[in-house]
Amino acid sequence: MHEAAIAQSIIDIVLRRLASIRSDNAKAQRVSVILGEFRNVEPESLAFAFENMREFYPELTECRLDMETISAQAKCQKAQHLYHPEPTSFYLCPICESGIGCLIRGEEMDVVNVVIEIPKAEEEKRHARIG
């Protein structure tokens, strides 16, 4: 249910990046996020929330949400073996059967990239000004 709050946070980040471009007609094309396996985010719910919410922002209506799930990697408690902790084996290390020590991967929840389109005419004007 908190996927709505997460979608809103993603939108806020995109809006901030758009504002920093300082172009009246810039539009967000795509926002890419990474979601670790050990975070409570359901990609389908997030996509649904995002698609509903972006409608309220004209500069976001065509913005796609790309999600990449990062599979977890743990170091086990006993011997620092690297492994993928799985619920079916109670997250235990397959080699020595101790539990999760630290998680090297799997706790990400970040925006990695925002693609913004600036209309061609305006971009040329910018270049002219710079050049």
Partner: protein
């Protein structure tokens, strides 16, 4: 097309909440207030444990409660009956408290006057785990009527907490719940957590819980004194 795609562009999605949580934490450090975030599935016994605590704390600390509920103030009324000051946050359709909701209460009278705050989060084993509030320690309750498989199904909240209370132990003979199995599963997810067995109904294990709280408060107080000292000598 403009692409903002360098390493620096990596930005935590819930970064704003984390910032507000840090703000709250700093505020609590200055006011020397020790804060606990109490989380569980609906009905695991959060309010009952708090009621027992306030009826038995014997002046050891000066608490205040922040109650998060989607609707109503039933829990706040129960806490008020113990004579403990309590604030109600109605989260509406939101299934968790967020840091900003706590920020709004920072300057409330009883929050300022107490040395210990218990925040009872909305009953939910998923969403509250993602929203730190500025707490010092996180407590998760799992009642034995919920089943000993819950740590496997909700690993995130069990990984990110300091104490797990296995509650309603007075019902042991009526349910198939292995305390040993549950504890093993929790420790496999979170090696640093402490697990306690309690019943707020009979008082079983509750003295140990109270002692843990008192110890956390005193450790917190000496920790922030040390930080204050470091700050001081740095200037």
């Amino acid at each position: 097309m403009h692409e903002s795609a360098d390493e620096h562009a990596l930005e935590r999605i819930l970064g704003k909440n984390d910032e507000m949580a840090d703000h709250n934490r700093e505020h609590f450090r200055r006011s020397k207030t020790c804060v606990f975030n109490v989380m569980s599935a609906p009905g695991a016994g959060k309010t009952t444990v708090l009621e027992w605590t306030f009826r038995n704390l014997d002046g050891k600390f000066k608490p205040c409660v922040i109650e998060g509920d989607m609707v109503g103030n039933l829990d706040a009324d129960r806490i008020a009956k113990t004579g403990t000051p309590v604030y109600q946050i109605s989260t509406g359709r939101s299934c968790h408290l967020d840091a900003q909701m706590i920020t709004r209460l920072l300057h409330s009278e009883s929050v300022e006057k107490s040395d210990t705050i218990f925040i009872e989060n909305v009953g939910n084993l998923v969403c509250p785990a993602e929203f730190p509030l500025g707490e010092y320690k996180r407590i998760v309750l799992l009642s034995i009527t919920e089943g000993d498989d819950k740590p496997i199904k909700y690993p995130v909240i069990f990984r990110n907490c300091d104490l797990v209370l296995l509650t309603k132990c007075d019902l042991m003979e009526h349910v198939d719940f292995s305390l040993e199995e549950a504890e093993k599963r929790i420790l496999a997810i979170n090696p640093n957590v402490l697990v306690m067995h309690v019943s707020a109904k009979t008082g079983y294990g509750m003295e140990k819980w109270l002692a843990w709280i008192v110890r956390q408060i005193s450790e917190y107080q000496s920790e922030i004194k040390k930080i204050a000292h470091v700050h001081h000598s740095a200037h």
